[in-house]
C-alpha cells in the first residue's frame, strides 16, 4: 500500500508535463492546495517582513514583543481580525458589500494557476498564460469599484474611483511592456513566439540570455516600465494615494472591518506576488539559476545547487545569533527557547536541502521564489523611501510618460527584432522603387 503510493508519487515526479497539461486531476488539486497554503504563508511572512524592514529603515525596531523579535505578530493580527465584530454600514447594499472582497480575492488567487515555479511545476500551462494573468488581474478593478460603491459613503467611493482609474491606466503601460518582451520570444531558431509562461522561460534558456539584457537597453527599459507600472497596479507606495491614511481614511476598504478587511489585505499582497511573478518570468529568467550558460558545467551546477541549503543555514545562523543576544531575564526565557527552536527548524530544513535528490527538484522553485522575494524587498524599500504621488501627478506619469515610452519602445523593439526582414522586405524595395521612379523621370 505504501509501496504503491510511493510508486505513484515517483511516477508523477518523473513526468515532464504540468498536471493540467497531462490531465491529472489529483495532482492538479494537490498543486492548487500547495499554492494556496504557500501564498497564505508568504502573505504572513510579508506582513512581518514589511513591518520589521520599514522599522529598521526608519531607525526603530518594529514589533518586538509578541514573539521573539515579533515573529508571532502576524498570527496575533490574524486572530484579532478574525475575532473582530463584523460591521456593515446601515444603508449599504448588503449583497454587493459581501461579494466585493470575494471578487478581489478571486482575481488575486486565480492568476496563480499559470505561474511557473519550474518547467513542470505549474498547476497548468495554458497556451495563453501571460494573457490570462493580465486579464484575470484586471478583474480586481471590478471588486474595488463595487466595494467602494457598496459602502455607501463618500471616502470609500472617491477612493474606489481613484484606485480603479489608476489601476486601469497602468494596465495599459503594463500591457505594452509585456508585449515588447513577448516579441523577444519569437527569436528562437526554430519556433514561433509563445504566450505560455513556461514557453517564455524556455525561450530565454534557448536564447542564452535573460530578456532583461536582450537588445540592450531595450530590455531594461521594458523592465523599468513594467516595474513602475506594477507598483501602481497594486496600489502600493509611492502610488498609494487611494488608500493612504492621511488622505482618504483608508480609501475603498474604509467601511470593511475584521475578516473582510483581511481578505482585501490578502488580495493586495497576493496581487503583489503575482505581478512580481510576471516580471520574474518575462525578464529575469523565471526558474533559471543565474548564469545558466556562461557559468555552466558540473562544478558550477554543483556550486549553484548548494545555494538553497546555504541560504537556510545562514538564516538559522542569524536565528542562533539573535538567541544568544536575547536579554538574560526570566521573562524572556520562553522567547529565547522559541527563537532557538525556530533556528533549529531552519537548520534542519537547510540540511535536508543538501540531499542531492531534494536539491535537484527544489532548485527551480528556490530560484523563482528568491527572485520574487527580491521584488518584495523592492516593494518594501519603495514604501520606506519615496514620498507619495499626488493623484494628478500619478495619472500624468501613467498616461503622459509611461504610455508614450511604452509605445516607442514597442516600435523600436519590433523593428530591431525583425531588422533583417524589415531591411530586406520594406526598406530595400521602397528604395529601389524610388530609384526607378527617378530614372523614369530624368
Amino acid at each position: 500500500m505504501i509501496q504503491k503510493f510511493i510508486q505513484y508519487v515517483q511516477s508523477y515526479l518523473d513526468s515532464n508535463q504540468t498536471p493540467g497539461a497531462a490531465g491529472n486531476i489529483f495532482w492538479a488539486v494537490v498543486y492548487v492546495l500547495l499554492v494556496f497554503v504557500g501564498l497564505s504563508i508568504a502573505v504572513i511572512c510579508m506582513n512581518w517582513l514589511e513591518r520589521k524592514i520599514l522599522a529598521h529603515m526608519q531607525v526603530r525596531l518594529g514589533p518586538m514583543r509578541v514573539g521573539p523579535h515579533g515573529l508571532l505578530q502576524p498570527i496575533a493580527d490574524a486572530i484579532k481580525l478574525l475575532l473582530k465584530e463584523d460591521i456593515i454600514p446601515a444603508e449599504a447594499d448588503k449583497v454587493v458589500f459581501w461579494v466585493a472582497p470575494f471578487i478581489v480575492v478571486l482575481a488575486a488567487f486565480t492568476v496563480f494557476v499559470v505561474v511557473p515555479f519550474g518547467p513542470t511545476h505549474a498547476i497548468t500551462d495554458m497556451n495563453i498564460g501571460i494573457l490570462f494573468m493580465l486579464g484575470v488581474s484586471s478583474l480586481a478593478v471590478l471588486g474595488i469599484v463595487t466595494a467602494g460603491w457598496a459602502s455607501n459613503s463618500h471616502y470609500p467611493l472617491i477612493g474606489a474611483l481613484r484606485s480603479s482609474a489608476q489601476m486601469v491606466s497602468y494596465e495599459v503601460a503594463m500591457g505594452l511592456a509585456v508585449v515588447s518582451a513577448i516579441m523577444m520570444t519569437s527569436l528562437n531558431e526554430s519556433s514561433t513566439g509563445t504566450l505560455s509562461m513556461i514557453g517564455i522561460v524556455q525561450a530565454q534558456l534557448a536564447q542564452h540570455e535573460w530578456f532583461l539584457f536582450k537588445f540592450f537597453p531595450l530590455g531594461i527599459i521594458a523592465f523599468g516600465i513594467f516595474a513602475i507600472a506594477m507598483v501602481a497596479e497594486t496600489n502600493r507606495a509611492p502610488f498609494d494615494l487611494p488608500e493612504a491614511e492621511s488622505e482618504l481614511t483608508a480609501g475603498f476598504h474604509t467601511e470593511y472591518s475584521g475578516f473582510r478587511w483581511s481578505l482585501f489585505f490578502l488580495a493586495e499582497y497576493s496581487a503583489m506576488i503575482a505581478v512580481s511573478s510576471i516580471a520574474v518570468t518575462l525578464w529575469l529568467g523565471g526558474w533559471l539559476r543565474p548564469f545558466p550558460n556562461a557559468l555552466s558545467g558540473p562544478t558550477w551546477d554543483l556550486a549553484f545547487s548548494l545555494i538553497p541549503g546555504l541560504t537556510f543555514l545562514f538564516l538559522a545562523g542569524m536565528c542562533f545569533y539573535s538567541t544568544v543576544r536575547m536579554p538574560k531575564h526570566p521573562l524572556f526565557r520562553i522567547q529565547t527557547i522559541g527563537l532557538g527552536g525556530f533556528g533549529i527548524v531552519l537548520l534542519l530544513i537547510g540540511l535536508v536541502l543538501f540531499i542531492p535528490a531534494v536539491r535537484v527538484r527544489v532548485s527551480d522553485i528556490f530560484w523563482f521564489s528568491a527572485k520574487v522575494a527580491g521584488f518584495m524587498y523592492l516593494y518594501i524599500w519603495y514604501r520606506g523611501t519615496f514620498p507619495r504621488y499626488r493623484f494628478d501627478q500619478l495619472m500624468k506619469v501613467g498616461w503622459k510618460i509611461l504610455l508614450p515610452t511604452g509605445l516607442a519602445l514597442l516600435i523600436v523593439t519590433a523593428i530591431w527584432a525583425m531588422r533583417s526582414a524589415v531591411w530586406a522586405d520594406v526598406v530595400v524595395p521602397i528604395w529601389l522603387a524610388f530609384l526607378d521612379l527617378l530614372r523614369r523621370i530624368f
Binding site: D93, I128, L142, L161, S164, S196
Partner: protein, 183 residues
Amino acid sequence: MNPSVATNPPVATPFFFYGLAAVMVIGGILVITRKNAVHSALALITTLLAQAALYLMLYAPFVAGVQIILYAGGIMVLFLFVIMLISIERASKERQFNKQCLVGIAAAAALGGLLIAVFTTTSKGQMMFAEGPTSYVESQNTQAVAGFLFDRSTGMYMFSFEIASLLLLVAIIGAVVMAKKRI
C-alpha cells in the same frame, strides 16, 4: 513544448458543461430581472466569466483570454462606472418594465417558438452537426489565430483587422464627443 490534450474529451466535460450552462442561464435571468442596475452588472460579469470557461472547453483559449480582458475587465468596468456616474437609485424604486412589455413578451415568445421549432423539426432521429474524428489541439491556438490575422501566406483577415482598428478609433472619438460637456 507541451503536447496537445488527448483526442478523447475528459470525463468531467458534461459536469462542467451543465454547471457552466446553469451559471450562464441563471446569470442571464438575473440580468433581465433585477431592479438594481449594479446587481444586473454583477450577474452579467458572472455570465461572461462562465462563458470564458466554456470557450476554454471548446479549445479556444485565445478567445477566452480576449473575453476576460475585454468584456469582463473592460466593458463591464465601463458599465459600472457609468451606472455610478448617473446614480440611478431613484430608478430602482420605480416600475421596472416598460410600456410595451406585453408586446415584447409576445415577440420574444414567438422567437422562442421559432428556435424550438428549428431545433426539434430538423433532426428527425439523426444527430445534427455530427462531428468528424479529429483531435483538438490547444497548444498552438494563439499561433494559429496570429497566422490567420497577420501571416503573409495564410492570413486572410488582415484587412478586417485594419478596419476593426479604424472602427475603434471612430468609437473613441465618438464616445469622447458624446460625453463632453461642451464640444
